[in-house]
Symmetry: C2
Subunit: 502 residues, 2 copies
Amino acid sequence: MAFTRASTALRPALRAAALRTPAAHRTLCASAQRMAAASLFPGEPSSPSVKTEIPGPASKKHTEDLHKVFDTRSLNMLTDYKKSSGNYIADADGNILLDVYAQIASIPLGYNNPALAKVAQTPEMVNAIINRPALGNFPPEDWAEILRTGILKVAPQGLDQVFTAMAGSDANETAYKAAFMWRRQQERGGPDVEFTEEETTSAMNNQAPGASQLSILSFRTGFHGRLFGSLSTTRSKPIHKLDIPAFDWPQATFPQLKYPLEEHAAENAAAEQASLDEVEHLIKTYHLPPAAVIIEPIQSEGGDNHASPAFFRGLREITKRHNVLLIVDEVQTGVGATGKFWAHEHWDLPTPPDMVTFSKKAQTAGYYFGDPALRPNKPYRQFNTWMGDPARAILFRAIVDEIDRLGLVEHTARVGDYLFSRLERLADKYPGQFANLRGKGQGTFIAFDNPRRDEFLKKAKAIGVNIGGSGESAVRLRPMLIFQEHHADILLEALEKIAKSW
Amino acid sequence: MAFTRASTALRPALRAAALRTPAAHRTLCASAQRMAAASLFPGEPSSPSVKTEIPGPASKKHTEDLHKVFDTRSLNMLTDYKKSSGNYIADADGNILLDVYAQIASIPLGYNNPALAKVAQTPEMVNAIINRPALGNFPPEDWAEILRTGILKVAPQGLDQVFTAMAGSDANETAYKAAFMWRRQQERGGPDVEFTEEETTSAMNNQAPGASQLSILSFRTGFHGRLFGSLSTTRSKPIHKLDIPAFDWPQATFPQLKYPLEEHAAENAAAEQASLDEVEHLIKTYHLPPAAVIIEPIQSEGGDNHASPAFFRGLREITKRHNVLLIVDEVQTGVGATGKFWAHEHWDLPTPPDMVTFSKKAQTAGYYFGDPALRPNKPYRQFNTWMGDPARAILFRAIVDEIDRLGLVEHTARVGDYLFSRLERLADKYPGQFANLRGKGQGTFIAFDNPRRDEFLKKAKAIGVNIGGSGESAVRLRPMLIFQEHHADILLEALEKIAKSW
């Protein structure tokens, strides 16, 4: 593709420019313009520009005001979206930062992407915004077409149907509901067996047998959302869970791999086997039998914890053998960031997952499935008023088109390799600052641990890079799909600057 | 207001026209155009137009195709939103129906409303669509302004803060979470008391004391959503709940009023007192103490069950006395349909509800609150990636502006009175067909029972009116806020035609 050749050709020049300081960078107008020309995002800034401390006076003032009506204690940056562009996020004080956090990994194609802006102004989008349908009752006549050219065009292999949702939490929870209904239907003897009087009566009282005594098995340090069902499977941090009633569902240990992987192969394989053994043991013995196992390809909120493809193949084999569904939560890993459209494509599974949930970069949400038995046996069992949002489905279609047009999945695989190899050098150069570097071959879905992580992120912001953390000590990189080598160079320069300062 | 005078002046002519048959109606082009001129929605059709059986051949064909990828068993009408206008919904076969169901009560101002279309095309909206923020971390610099001129402009009296959400279910669930954190904080001794090691450890295992042993008290036949926490408080129909694990939370009987109210005053008062006694008993004795009581002003999905203002005042008094929060679920009743902006304004409460949840006609969602203690004591306790959607908040602001400009709350109160009085006449004329007519003085939020309800709704559709049902036998009317007397006449004519045919 044209853009690839151009950016490859320009890369050495860009890298050379990026190795200079940000201040020098700003003066390089001519070269910056050349860079922009090679950019996947014409017109974006060529470098960060930090004018005030962050938060600056305007941000502080507006935040104080906002706080009166909307809790701002988790506020990271008061953002000026009008002035944000491509990989760069602007704040209320006019500071412009390279953004490798991207709204908690949910901006795919850059701020104010012109292709998306165009789609947002079409009559089709306006129609979808102002005429929001109750999709289960009154779908638009072209809903099949919208799905096939968008959400379903990128459906994971083997999964050709979708239940649409609003965000990651309800995508997961509706998948859980499908799993419970599927399992109980089997136990009941098939789709044609009617519910008993005892079931319908007890269900209304939240009691068994109508309310099933089943569970969803999840993994320690996993994250699947924060509503009541999803939160019961989330095991990332106490602050997410404290005081909230939870279902007594089982959890297995997620293998804790040691890095570098090649030096700990046997140990890591043993950790993975122990985890699989625990899963199997829980499936066989847990007092509330699991209808499904849910797992992230890379535990994201929990600290970027990886496991090997062999582990996931083992999990598929065990769940299959015990008639337990496998739900892969691709809310954060999906839509290209790992160098595959879906992260589970890295695993080479013999049979597909039973359900794959998605949201974030897709801007819409839902779960994919293939087996018709995952449709409940009666209408209105899996139902709610909106059941998703066609406006966001149309936006995702446009995102998919841009990903295709620009080859952004392969692009991200390549840029990720570039970034990872240079991070390895930093890890060698600054021992302990880039600990447990992980995400090799996983696109730009890269993380490392830093002993003073929160301070690290703060310093990064002060020199113009917006980065997120996860887990206890992980610095997680979640750039957009339009993140290029020259952005990587700016990021690397900033990371080295911080490491050097300690 | 100008529009009110015009429509009042024209009303006798409109009513006369409407009393003719639909066929005659269609020929009345000139008078129809005059009607349209007096309409709150210029250009909408003047009457329904049914050309094929419903579903017609095109709808059937497209539905069959859609069913391959998206479950269509709950499909009501395959809708052509491009051709829908104002109070009229069009299907894929070109049939045009008067719509008094309005996407399960969630379209406020008519299909293809020009004022909303204008807002949907503004740079502000385009920006919000393509740059979706993680609101808790990166709110737009004008988020306070968007809230104050929209969502908070119509905040219920006494509640001046909001936590935004995506839809009714997560609005309720986040309200529940706020309630649980509030209650545990009290038990713990205040916001400054740290969590114990035992709490943080047990929370990660979904066990007490970290996972609280508290509950939400709801009412029989109530509906509050279909995710795991909200579904545990939903008690409308077994089909909503079967096979889904549920929390062992308490339910009280919702008073079952007898109609006409004036003939059963003593009996109804006793039923309400019994319900209040049951609530108090459950609060005092239930093994998982309720942190909050949630109630709909009118139980909507459960069959349009009403209670008196005195009942709700009693509930406020009991919850207050026992230090239990009162959450009013205005997802379906809110935003004008009952002739007040919020239905609970009908109650004349001495102190406001602690939280009021909203969605549907608001197009966005969330919970309002006033007491600062309902903000959890630490950041990230009430948090998720998107926390709502500024695009929909901007749309709601435009909806609020239109409601104000056209005086649609008062308008709906008046049209509701008009409709109700004529329904009373039908109820007298066709005994048993319009049983338990209810919703007097509640705007257009009106319902009645029909012994052959499903057939009734089908017949209505065949003659050009789209109506929804609820509960076992209720025909529920949920017109939009731009529903006028001449629409009521068309509806009444259709209802009488069905009643007469039996």
